[in-house]
């Protein structure tokens, strides 16, 4: 695609419900990242994919968070039993390779509100 696409753009959910956030990276980009942006905070790294594998899941805050990537393309971030502290903007980014100087292209994010 022309850019990184994330859906939904906004999601309001009740505490305790599960949510799925989707990311469609730029075609051909092998590296994919999920970040979380809380109000007044910087971007917090969650997970990194190279192809379909996730060599670095160190940023996932709890076992309620999981992510997968299929076909080297679409990725889904799942949050189970959502809590109010999960409210944030979830940003996905992709890059052509994992080389350090490669530009990461970001989606517009999903704003998650847990009520």
């Amino acid at each position: 695609g022309a850019g990184v696409s994330q859906s939904p753009s906004n999601k309001v959910t009740e505490k305790g419900k599960d949510v799925e956030l989707r990311c469609d990276p730029i075609s051909g980009h092998t590296a994919l990242y999920w970040y979380r942006q809380s109000l007044g905070q910087g971007l917090e790294f969650l997970i990194y994919f190279q192809g379909n594998s996730a060599p670095d899941k160190s940023g996932l805050p709890s076992d309620r968070f999981s992510a997968e990537r299929t076909g080297g393309s679409v990725s889904t971030l799942t949050i189970q039993r959502t809590q109010q502290e999960d409210s944030a903007v979830y940003l996905c980014a992709s890059s052509f390779s994992q080389i350090m100087n490669t530009e990461a292209f970001f989606g517009q994010g999903t704003r998650l509100t847990v009520v």
């Binding site: 590296a31 990242y33 970040y35 007044g40 905070q41 910087g42 971007l43 790294f45 990194y48 670095d56 903007v89 940003l91 980014a93 890059s95 994992q98 080389i99 350090m100 100087n101 530009e103 990461a104 970001f106 989606g107 517009q108 994010g109 704003r111």
Partner: protein, 113 residues
């Protein structure tokens, strides 16, 4: 540990004036890259400029330039001839030794007409 610090939560500048956003970082790696990203209200992060640590020459992209002081671990962004469209959050980021971006907490810049 690698860290990025942006000490100016908010700044404002008059249209056509020049503004400098500060960023300091810490890493023990010798090879690393520094980035400035812009996040307008649309939430879309856009790369503004990047700097390779082994290059002494400061990067420049049109109205945007950096002042890279490697010894001081400082990486400030200068925006010249500020435009209303420059209003956004600006994030400084470091990539060192791995693929992972480490971001600062951002500076909210408002350009005043």
């Amino acid at each position: 540990a690698q860290t990025v610090t942006q000490s100016q939560p908010e700044m404002s500048v008059q249209e056509a004036e020049t503004v400098t956003l500060s960023c300091t970082y810490d890493t023990s790696e010798n090879n690393y890259y520094l980035f400035w990203y812009k996040q307008p209200p649309s939430r879309q992060m856009i790369l503004v400029i990047r700097q390779e640590a082994y290059k002494q020459q400061n990067a420049t992209e049109n109205r945007f330039s950096v002042n890279f002081q490697k010894a001081a671990k400082s990486f400030s962004l200068k925006i010249s001839d500020s435009q209303l469209g420059d209003t956004a959050m600006y994030f400084c980021a470091l990539v060192a030794g791995t693929y992972k971006y480490i971001f600062g907490t951002g500076t909210r810049l408002k350009v005043l007409a």
